[in-house]
């Protein structure tokens, strides 16, 4: 079995996210890191490999992004991927979800994976949909928010998180699975794995290498166009009630809640 894991470089969780008004895209100039949700996908791939139910020949981390995205690939490799593929081309910059999914699907076609895994969402765009778009282009079945996965020869038995409980779904391979963060506890990279990451093969490819139709990707060719962004409304200052007399304080809190029809 060959597993491809889609990964993404995102602004570090500690960085306050904001839209760059000049481009309409997220400002990604600060510290960046591997999308934390994708670390669960890599761990899921590693557990299939180490579980031994099916032989896994290799785990390939795949990303699309600027030069700096190499760091996300190094991290993915330090967490266990055997090699990585980096689609980097000015032509794909600014692609919306549909165009990104198309470009990633074309990149994955070169690898012919038996299983594509990804985190259920990216920590920046939070669209939750890239897996479904990729699956559509690859003609593969897709499941989202999977929190348990067992390999059964040419199929997977998955539990996915539903609104009121869990669905158990059997899905034939090849398939595209986006995993929830409840699926596992990602391992920490060892020092050797970090230092060895740069020595593992990294295949840098262009849109042409992946036979991507340039008219279907990039900001201008994307169907969804950003129009405007508004900052969320500032929080009201709140009201501090000094607790001088507990009876009175309780009355004040009840009156405050009552006024707002909260009780």
């Amino acid at each position: 079995m060959k597993i491809c894991v889609l990964v993404k470089e995102v602004p570090d969780a500690a960085v306050e996210k904001r839209i760059d008004p000049s481009t309409g895209r997220m400002d990604r100039s600060g510290e960046k890191n591997l999308n934390p949700y994708d670390t669960h996908a890599i761990e899921a791939a590693m557990q299939i490999k180490e579980g031994g139910a099916v032989p896994v020949e290799e785990i390939v981390a795949v990303t699309m992004g600027p030069d700096s995205a190499v760091r996300a690939l190094h991290k993915a490799v330090s967490l266990g991927a055997d090699r990585s593929v980096h689609l980097s081309d000015p032509a794909v910059a600014g692609s919306d979800v549909a165009a990104t999914g198309y470009a990633l699907a074309k990149t994955l076609q070169r690898e012919s994976p038996d299983l594509v895994l990804l985190g259920q969402q990216s920590d920046d765009g939070e669209c939750y949909t890239i897996g479904a778009v990729v699956a559509e282009h690859l003609g593969m079945p897709s499941l989202t928010q999977v929190i348990k996965m067992d390999v059964e020869s040419d199929a997977l038995r998955c539990e996915r998180q539903a609104e009121y409980g869990y669905d158990t779904v059997q899905i034939k391979l090849p398939a595209v699975i986006s995993v929830g963060d409840a699926i596992n506890e990602p391992r920490y990279p060892s020092l050797k794995a970090i230092m060895g990451a740069k020595k593992k093969p990294l295949d840098a490819i262009t849109a042409a290498d992946a036979e991507i139709d340039a008219s279907k990707v990039g900001g201008e060719n994307s169907a969804a166009q950003w129009i405007a962004a508004k900052a969320p409304p500032a929080k009201a200052a709140g009201e501090i009630i000094e607790d001088e007399d507990t009876g009175e304080t309780v009355e004040k809190i009840i009156a405050w809640l009552d006024e707002r029809k909260l009780i």
Binding site: N33, R71, H74, Y188, S190, L191, K192
Partner: protein, 385 residues
């Protein structure tokens, strides 16, 4: 001049931070006053962090000292205590630079694999602290090795280490023209020893697992000698530079811990209708500590760079250790003042880290001695001691 942090360092910071999150303040408080953080050290060992300086051909990662120092910095910045395990890094230089190929082949892969611990560095004696040439622990040559007699003090982690780097006198001082001669370094295997090796713990104000060690007719094979007999003082000085740079990095980590905690508290704690951080009496000490840390950090990087280039690093290593330990002490006090009474409460971890970071103004070299060194050897002033 490029101040961008290398990618390796960033990846190391992320990974060490993630590991340390499994060992929060509750873990460290639970060890007080004197339990060794075995679980923490085991986790670091399993993930290869304590083998950072061991060359790749011997099973380690072969990091330069500068990059390895990031590991200890992050441990301290997380609120953990790197003192439990830092010696495996700073004693390593002695073995790496002066050990024979046979010694390296014999020990390094097993240290890298976590089968052996090299955490003890026995130099100081009750009668000889900073004046290392006055040590009296004697290693006398015999037909097939050495017999050691004497006593060491402040040998930390000896109870939790398999191996010890030992400095002992092989030629009596009265037979020497140069008092820095006649000292030799040994790699002592402490396992399976009887009455010839006694290790007694010393209780201190922080949890540092320090001990005094007694040698009574302890036999060492000739192969235990590191490098040339009589050249040990130079080897130890070289190792001390690595130690000082690593301690400086730990102090920078401590500074970050104190400042992160104090700034968060100063922004959150409201007194007289505004956050206490709005008061200059609270804000300025934190700002000063931050500036002291930033300056110390630059000297730390310079010292590490010199060491990694194989250039003389004594002055910078000493200065980095002095500046960083003074900065962390300044940050510790500012954090304690910022937290008010809560700073003294154990559950805030400020008082614990306060006790831990205080050590580094005194050890591994007293800051007065660093000033004396800079005065005499850097500025060319008369010897002051």
């Amino acid at each position: 001049m490029d101040f961008t942090e290398p990618q390796d360092s960033r990846a190391i910071r992320d990974a060490v931070r993630a590991l340390c999150e499994r060992f929060p303040g509750e873990y460290w408080r639970g060890l007080e006053p004197d339990r060794y953080p075995s679980e923490f050290v085991a986790a670091l060992t399993d993930q290869g962090w304590l083998a950072a300086l061991i060359p790749e051909e011997h099973g380690g990662s072969g990091l330069p000292l500068a990059t390895a120092s990031v590991i200890l910095e992050e441990i301290c910045a997380s609120g953990a205590n790197a003192g439990a395990c830092h010696a495996q890094m700073y004693t390593m230089g002695t073995l790496l630079r002066h050990g024979s190929e046979a010694q390296k082949r014999s020990y390094l892969p097993r240290i890298a694999a976590g089968e052996l611990r090299l955490q003890a560095f026995a130099v100081t004696e009750p009668g000889a602290g900073s004046d290392t040439t006055q040590i009296t622990t004697r290693a006398e040559r015999t037909a097939d090795g050495y017999v050691v007699n004497g006593q060491k003090i402040w040998t930390s982690r000896a109870e939790h280490s398999d191996l010890m780097v030992l400095l002992a006198r092989t030629t009596p001082i009265e037979q020497l023209e140069k008092r820095t001669g006649g000292l030799s370094v040994f790699l002592l295997d402490m396992r399976d020893r009887g009455a010839e090796l006694t290790i007694s713990p010393i209780k201190t104000m922080m949890n540092h697992a320090t001990t005094e060690v007694f040698f009574e007719d302890l036999e060492l094979p000739a192969e235990a000698l590191i490098g040339e007999e009589g050249e040990g003082f130079g080897y130890i000085l070289d190792g001390m530079n690595a130690e000082r740079i690593l301690i400086a990095a730990e102090c920078i980590g401590d500074c970050r811990f104190f400042l992160d905690r104090a700034v968060a508290y100063a922004n959150e704690r409201v007194v007289f209708g505004r956050p206490i951080g709005a008061n200059q009496g609270v804000q300025f000490p934190l700002a000063r500590a931050h500036m002291a840390m930033s300056a110390a950090d630059l000297v730390r990087w310079k010292a590490a760079w010199l060491y990694d280039q194989g250039l003389p690093a004594g002055a910078e290593a000493n200065m980095a250790k002095y500046l960083a330990s003074e900065a962390s002490w300044e940050a510790a006090n500012a954090a304690l003042d910022t937290h008010g009474g809560f700073g003294f409460a154990q559950e805030y971890d400020i008082e614990r880290k306060f006790r831990e970071t205080r050590l580094y103004k005194t050890a591994p070299v007293n800051n007065n001695l660093v000033q004396a060194y800079v005065g005499q050897h850097v500025l060319g002033l008369p010897r002051s001691y």
